[in-house]
């Protein structure tokens, strides 16, 4: 079982993954695949459940652009850590679609990518290796400054002294 | 089956190494363990997998060699270059430690 890190600390995971062919439960926080969402959207909305969506690599967030406000959590899959599509998906979700819920990195998630993920707007991580869980806080700031603004608040080259992005 | 040895690169310095009979990894193909049957090769590759898991070597595979009383010579030219060193710098690699009159396959 991977460990969930949320906002920098180990957290209990309240979400359950709803298999594509399982019945919609009465209660709980359910995480559905894009396929399931596209098939049972109305039923899921009517259920009143707290909803989460998992997007695989290759499943562009634009496909659910109008529904973003319905999800409390979106999980983006890294099938291999070298598949970097989810970094762009994350930024689009945060910056283009104003997603404010939990944005979770799942799959091949290693400490050497935490900093990039955090800067792209991920705030939750499912981490397989114990050593990576322990290293999390240090990994976020292993390079403590940056040359381009992103979704975090580290010191950026060329931006004003308060580190806020230029207006 | 052609005679084979198992080769890899040493993790620490990247140098070309061969699995020797005593289980150690050597830069000198001359003392590499020669396998004459598939079962022996598989055993050597398993040994290599252990060595990779303990951070000694990386990227092991088997190669064909021809063997005579004084030398072990890879069949593929690329492997000959790996065994001896670059043809452009004959003072680099294992060739610098061996008989300087040893010629390359293509004679350059």
């Amino acid at each position: 079982m991977p460990t969930l890190l949320k906002n920098g600390s180990v957290a209990h995971d309240p979400w359950t993954q709803l298999a594509d062919d399982s019945a919609i439960p009465d209660q709980g926080m359910v995480l559905v695949s894009l396929d399931r969402w596209q098939k049972d959207r109305d039923a899921l909305i009517e259920s009143g459940l707290t909803l989460g969506l998992q997007l695989d690599a290759g499943e562009h967030p634009d496909s659910i652009a109008d529904d973003i406000g319905l999800f409390d959590m979106i999980a983006l899959v890294f099938p291999a850590f070298s598949d970097g599509r989810a970094y762009s998906y994350a930024r689009l979700l945060r910056e283009r679609h104003d997603f404010v819920g939990e944005l979770r990195a799942v799959g091949d998630v290693l400490q050497d990518q935490f900093m990039y993920m955090h800067r792209c707007g991920f705030d939750a991580f499912e981490v397989k290796k114990e050593a990576d869980v322990i290293a999390f806080a240090d990994a976020l700031t292993i390079v403590s400054s940056a040359y381009q603004p992103a979704l975090d608040d580290r010191r950026i080259r060329g931006r004003d002294a308060s580190n806020r992005m230029a207006a | 089956m052609q005679n084979q040895v198992v080769t890899a690169n040493r993790l620490l310095d990247g140098s070309v190494v061969y699995l020797a009979a005593d289980g150690s990894w050597t830069n000198s193909i001359r003392i590499a363990n020669i396998a004459q049957e598939d079962a022996a090769v598989q055993g050597m590759l398993k040994s290599a997998a252990d060595a990779e898991a303990s951070q000694e070597i990386v990227g092991a595979y088997a190669i064909d060699v021809s063997v005579d009383t004084s030398s072990v010579t890879p069949t593929k030219y690329k492997e000959l270059i790996r065994a001896k060193g670059p043809t452009t710098h004959t003072n680099f690699g294992m060739q610098a430690l061996e008989d300087p009159t040893t010629a390359y396959m293509n004679g350059v």
Partner: protein, 552 residues
């Protein structure tokens, strides 16, 4: 040139510590090779045929004498006393150990150098015209933008795991010396009718297995919006570039398969949103960076000073060298000096630590402390007083880098090939050496004239053979080294991809074949046609027919 401040230094220092930690975890088993490999590649560390290889970044090919001395020191201390200057204006070392690499990076950091993103599926070194800032024929110094793009792309969190490597080049002169049309993104600085400076944007050029000339996707991009446009382009590529096949993963394939109109539409659509954001540089930051590239204060000198006249008369070798290896400088009384790293029988682009130190001293004394690396594996001293040319020449003679062969047949681009590279099918360097020896007679070389010959040891085309006037591709035919000849490639603003002339030649016969091709050209050329001119006039057929005419 750009000068680091404490921000830049702290950044590089952090990065070295990150790599040091990763090496340590690799050695203790905390990272497998599969997990470690992309991380080490993003710090320029390859595992090659005989050893690790470290590729050090030389941003847009510009370095100071202090930095060159450090590169020499590293060659001497941690390697086998030499380094190789590459086709992307970097330097690589062929024999470092993994253990030493963090220490080497510490040393590089002392002189504001690093190996960040010189490999891996990320944005690589941004290259530029090696004459930038010194030539009269540019609109403005392209290195300002190369530096701006370098900073933006460094540890960009969204683009660290692209489908494949990504290479950007910038030029600002009508004669493209940076081969922008064979880059993933090529930027040409242009002026619109109103006189504003902006970029012509070309996307999807490349060599390798599927050579393609880039497509122009925008005639004019206002210069202050460069970063947002690049961000949009990279984002489209990151999301849509193929990830199923390593050999179809470059942006050139995406442009080709999507179609340039649709691809452009996707980029422009993404850009319309991105440009409203905060990625474009504030004007004062643009100016801060541009200020580093303000032209130096050149002295008021005259052309053709007395020292020059005297030397030309006294030393015909100097006169020949000056003619072939120097280029017109923007400031009167100055010259751009090309240092040929292609001596007869030598290894193209290689320099010993002693040679590097001598060049560093030359730069400090005679070139306002600046050196450039060219994408053709040579070096350039950009700001030399004409009066100092004889002195510079004499030093180059003493270190063996005074061959008057810039742009001639012996000025060969050559990849490391099977002697060094684990991807290669055939050796390339020995072929280069033998060709230069065959054409050792300088009179003959000058008679042949401009001829760009490029050699690759495999289909990955790191020797740029596709864009050689004569290209040579090494192949493995039943375990033997064979060489295929292509003709008519060109990497400049008249971009073209070479055509295979016919069956490949054995290692024994390839040099004869090349000589025959040259003789055929001499036999049919008209007026002052260069090799490429003649080829473009007559096509492949006459060459093919005569080359294979008496094949046994």
């Amino acid at each position: 040139m750009y000068r680091y401040d404490e921000f830049d230094r702290a950044f590089v220092k952090d990065r070295v510590n990150q790599l040091r930690d990763q090496v340590s975890r690799r050695l203790s088993g905390g990272l497998t090779e599969d997990e470690f490999k992309p991380l080490r590649l993003q710090n320029g560390v390859y595992l090659q045929l005989h050893a690790y290889m470290l590729r050090v970044a030389i941003p847009y090919g510009t370095l100071s004498s202090r930095q060159m001395h450090k590169l020499a020191h590293i060659a001497r201390t941690y390697d086998k006393d030499y380094g190789h200057f590459t086709t992307r204006q970097n330097i690589q070392y062929n024999w470092p150990t993994l253990q030493d690499i963090p220490t080497i990076l510490d040393e590089l950091a002392e002189v504001d150098m690093h190996a960040i993103q010189t490999s891996g599926n990320c944005i690589r070194n941004v290259t530029a015209d090696q004459y930038a800032g010194a030539t009269a024929d540019e609109i403005e110094d392209p290195r300002v933008w190369a530096e701006i793009v370098r900073q933006w792309s460094t540890l960009h969190p969204e683009f660290a795991f692209l489908p494949r490597k990504f290479k950007i080049a910038v030029t600002a002169a009508p004669n493209d010396r940076a081969a922008i049309r064979f880059h993933d993104i090529g930027l040409a600085i242009v002026k619109n009718d109103a006189g504003d400076v902006g970029f012509e944007v070309h996307v999807g050029g490349g060599l390798g297995r599927t050579p393609m000339v880039a497509r122009k996707i925008r005639d004019f991009l206002p210069r202050h919006q460069l970063l947002s446009y690049l961000e949009a382009t990279l984002r489209v590529y990151n999301m849509l570039g193929r990830r199923d096949n390593k050999y179809k993963a470059r942006i050139k394939i995406l442009v080709h398969e999507t179609g340039v109109e649709e691809f452009t539409r996707l980029v422009e659509a993404e850009w319309s949103a991105v440009k409203e954001g905060t990625i474009d540089l504030p004007a004062d930051e643009m100016e801060r960076i541009a200020a580093y590239f303000a032209p130096p204060a050149f002295d008021a000198l005259s052309n053709d000073p007395q020292e020059l006249f005297a030397a030309r008369v006294a030393d015909p070798a100097f006169a020949a060298w000056e003619k072939a290896n120097t280029f017109t400088h923007r400031a009167t009384g100055y010259a751009i000096v090309n240092i040929s790293l292609k001596p007869t029988g030598g290894i193209p682009g290689d320099a010993t630590s002693a040679q590097m130190d001598a060049i560093a001293d030359l730069a400090e004394k005679y070139s306002l402390d600046e050196i450039r690396v060219t994408h053709e594996q040579n070096l350039t001293l950009p700001h030399v007083r004409q009066a100092d040319l004889p002195t510079v020449f004499n030093v180059l003679v003493s270190i063996g880098f005074a061959d008057a062969n810039i742009g001639l047949i012996s000025d060969i681009i050559c990849c490391p090939g099977l002697d060094y590279c684990s991807l290669a099918n055939a050796r390339s360097i020995p072929v280069s050496q033998r060709i230069t020896e065959r054409f050792a007679d300088m009179k003959r070389q000058h008679d042949v004239g401009d001829l760009k010959l490029k050699i690759s040891g495999c289909i990955n085309a790191c020797g740029h053979h596709h864009v050689g006037h004569i290209g040579i591709l090494g192949v493995d035919r039943r375990g033997e080294e064979y060489y295929q000849i292509t003709l008519g490639g060109s990497a400049d603003e008249n971009a073209s991809i070479g055509k295979i002339i016919g069956p490949a030649f054995s290692s024994d016969s390839i040099v004869d074949a090349v000589e025959k091709v040259v003789d055929i050209y001499i036999g049919i050329r008209q007026d002052n046609e260069s090799f490429l001119d003649t080829y473009r006039r007559v096509g492949l057929a006459p060459f093919k027919e005569k080359l294979y005419a008496d094949a046994a």
